[in-house]
Every structure is written in C-alpha cells, then in structure tokens.
C-alpha cells in the first residue's frame, strides 16, 4: 500500500460527476439511486460510463490509484446488478420465475400484446422526434399572484422522498453475492500462468453471474496492468494475455 492510499480513505470518487441520458450528477450517487429504483440499471450505459471515467481520469492525481480501484469496484457492482436485471426474476422461495405465464397459450397472448405495445412505442418515438424543436413562447405572463395552490402534504412527501435518498439503501433483497471479483481474479491469474486464454474458454462453464464478475475482474486486472486485453475487432473474441 502506498503512502497516498494510507492517507486518503474513502470518498475518492466524490468529485467525479457524470452526464448520461438517464442521470446527471455525482457518480457516487448513481449506485444508490439504482439500488433504490430511482434509476433503472437497465438504462445505464455501462460502456459510456467507463468512457466518462477514463476521460475524467487524472493519472497524476495523488489518489489516482485509489480512485481507479474504487471505480473498478463500483463498476463491477453495476455489471453484476445489470446482469441480474437481465436474467428473469426468480421467486426467492420457490425459485420459479415471478408472475410466470400459466400456459403456452398465455405466453403467446402476452407476447402478442407486448409486440403491439412495442410497435406503439416505435410510433411514439418517431412522433416525438418529428415534433422536437418546437419551443414555446417566452411571452406568457406569470399567473396572477395567489392563483397557485400548493398542497403542504405534497411538499412534506417530497421532502421525505428527497432527503431519505441520503441514506444508503438496504441491499438485503438482492440476496447473497456468492462470488467476488477477488475470487475470479485468482482464477484468471491461474489460467494466465499457462499462457493467453480467451474469455470465452475461461468462462465456458460459468453461470451468467460468474461470467459478468469474471469480466469485471479482467477489467480490474487490466487497470492494474496485470493482464492485457486483446480484441482484434469490435464484438470479436476477447483474449486475456499475461502482461508484456
């Protein structure tokens, strides 16, 4: 551990802010907002997020290493959460998918309805795009004083809502995290001792969650310079190589 690491503990990412379609503000809030369902993880472009971090990264900063470590740690958590969101919701007790269709008939029915709604969404997207750029008059007089009515309950509800975001959300409902980045880092390093390995081979036997964490671990090792990631074409096979 370096002297810098010893001196600066926690909050290393506190002045990193992000501008995304779904959220703009301090990065350290994003995770909390996601866990509280204020921002849907599904909509957070992780790749863009990593790009923003790399763009804002200052390798000469005193706590650069700590910041990198913190970022990789939290980005790995986001990958984990996103992979869970993408897998079907499982009922904790029975392990059965939540609200599953009772019959193939019902499944077909639901998918048909979803297809229609999806088509409707495309129509709406096109109409909103076609009508963008209409700006309203700036000449509307302010309403007469005293016309506006504010409900005090809505104000106190809003205060409760906004102010309670400051406390870390409960994460128990996410269930135990049974695999860690450290574990998968060890797996990767063991594999690398025998030479380059493709991500696909490495993760072939793994479940979805482990695959996601392995990916985060590979990124983390690459950040630390302990692994080189090679990908010859976009979306092509990813190869992990020992450092030069």
């Amino acid at each position: 551990m370096t002297v810098h690491e010893a001196q600066t503990t926690g909050r290393s990412l506190s002045n990193f802010t992000v501008e995304l379609d779904v959220y703009s503000g301090p990065y350290e809030w994003l995770l909390a907002l996601i866990l509280k369902d204020e921002v849907e993880i599904f909509e957070v472009p992780l790749r863009e997020l990593v790009g923003l971090y790399l763009g804002a990264r200052d390798p000469r900063a005193a706590n650069a290493l700590e910041r990198d470590t913190d970022f990789v740690g939290s980005a790995a958590a986001l990958v984990l959460l996103k992979s869970r969101t993408l897998s079907p919701a499982l009922d904790e007790e029975t392990g059965a998918p939540d609200d599953a269709p009772a019959s193939p008939e019902e499944l077909a029915e639901r998918l048909s309805r979803y297809l229609e709604i999806r088509r409707g969404a495309e129509v709406i997207a096109a109409r909103l795009a076609a009508n963008a750029g209409h700006y309203p008059t700036a000449h509307a007089p302010p309403p007469k004083p005293g016309r506006l009515r504010l409900a005090p309950e809505r104000l106190t509800d809003a205060a409760r809502r906004a102010f309670s975001r400051l406390v870390d959300p409960p994460v128990q409902h996410l269930g135990p995290i049974t695999v860690t980045v450290q574990e998968l880092s060890a797996v990767i390093r063991t594999a690398l001792a025998r030479g380059p390995v493709s991500y696909e081979d490495l993760t072939r036997e793994m479940d979805r969650l482990r695959k996601a964490v392995a990916f985060a671990a590979a990124l983390s090792l690459a950040q630390e310079g302990r692994v080189r990631l090679a990908q010859t074409e976009p979306l092509g096979p990813l190869t992990l190589e020992p450092p030069a």
Binding site: D21, V22, D37, E38, V39, E40, F42, E43, T85, A89, D99, P104, E105, L107, A108, R110, L111, S112, R113, Y114, L115, E116, I117, R118, R119, G120, A121, E122, V123, I124, A125, R127, L128, A129, A130, N131, A132, G133, H134, Y135, P136, T137, H139, A140, P141
Partner: protein
C-alpha cells in the same frame, strides 16, 4: 360570456383590432395549448369568427411561411417556434436540445396511451420488467400523470395516463390521432409469433 361578447363587439367599433389579431395576441401569451372555448371566452368572438380567425392564422403561421408555427395539439391551439429554426433558438438560449427518451420510456408511454388509465403493475406486467423508475421519470417530466386510483385492487394503486404535455410533444390533437393498437401488428405477424411460441413450448406430439 354573452355579456362579454357584446361588450367587446361594442368596443371594437372604436379601436377594433381584427378578430385574427385578438386570437394571435392570446396565443402569443400562452405556452400551453388554448382550447377553442378559452379562446372564445378571452376574445369574445362568436364561433364563426373564431374559426375564420384560426384558419387565417394557420395559413399565416405555416412552417413554410414563418419562424413561428400554429399547431392544433392536445385539443387546443399552440404557437411555437418552427423546428427548422430550432438550432438558432438553441444557440440563443445556450441550451442543448433535451436528450430523447429511452426505449423503455417509449414503451411505458405506449402502455399508458393504449391501455391507460393503467397501474404501475399493469405496465410492468405488459413489459415483463419492473417499470417503476421509468414511470417516476415520466411523471417528473409531466408526460404521465396519476389520474385516479384502482379501487378494485388492494392498496388502491394509482392509475396512470398520458398528459396533454405528451400529446403536445407528440404533435397530436388527441389520442385518436394515434392508430389503434390492433392495427399496429399485422394478423399474419401475430399468428407467426403464436406458432413460434406454441411450437417451442409444446411438444408437437401433445398437440390435440
């Protein structure tokens, strides 16, 4: 109303701005669509004169004729800048065009438009994923609103529907401007989908 109309007519004999000018001035002062009834009340114009004034203004404020356009949206009339001039307006206000909504948001709006009023749970069921965060975002943007509660369900969950702001943003005079849901997907496509699902989930031997 009648009294006002007479009053205005009387006064017009003196100063008398033309009917179209009165409507133009009122629309200029409103950032939201103004219903024909509200226009009539403010200007004191009888129905025929109001219609004629609006027709005149629609020609005057057409996209080919002006930097300001008149649109019939959300059951009312609204003047706004011509989108062809939007880059100049955005530079002037030093504001970027708002980012387009996400695909998830479009699906939630589609659910509310076609199935609304509908609960959050109803939207999530149709989409197959929890939609609460997207709904919250659309409520904040004023494109969805809570319009009542579903008293038939435990906890009386709120019912959501699209707003006039949504209709305005989509350039729609009313929800009837949107093609009906069952016209969006062809019967052939639906039956192909059905076949695929049933053959994938049901062993053919078990089919009756």
């Amino acid at each position: 109303m009648r009294e006002r109309a007479e009053h205005t007519t009387e006064r017009r004999s003196a100063a008398s701005p033309r009917p179209a000018y009165l409507v133009e001035a009122v629309l200029f002062a409103s950032a939201r669509p103004v219903s024909p009834a509200a226009l009539a009340a403010a200007t004191g114009l009888p129905d025929g004169a109001l219609k004629a004034a609006l027709a005149e203004l629609e020609a005057r404020y057409s996209p080919d004729n002006s930097g300001i356009v008149l649109r019939n949206v959300a059951r009312g009339y609204l003047l706004s800048t011509n989108p062809a001039c939007a880059p100049a307006v955005e530079r002037f206000r030093d504001e970027a065009r708002p980012a387009p909504l996400s695909g998830a948001a479009h699906e939630v709006l589609s659910s509310a438009l076609y199935l609304g009023p509908v609960t959050r749970a109803g939207i999530s069921r149709v989409r197959g994923v929890n939609s609460d965060a997207v709904v919250r975002n659309l409520l904040e943007r004023g494109l969805l609103a809570e319009v009542g509660v579903d008293a038939d369900h435990p906890g009386s969950p709120a019912l959501l529907d699209v707003t006039d702001e949504f209709l305005t943003a989509a350039g729609a005079a009313s929800r009837e401007d949107f093609a009906p849901l069952d016209s969006l997907v062809s019967p052939e496509e639906l039956s192909r989908l059905r076949e695929r699902v049933l053959s994938a989930t049901d062993p053919p031997a078990e089919a009756p």
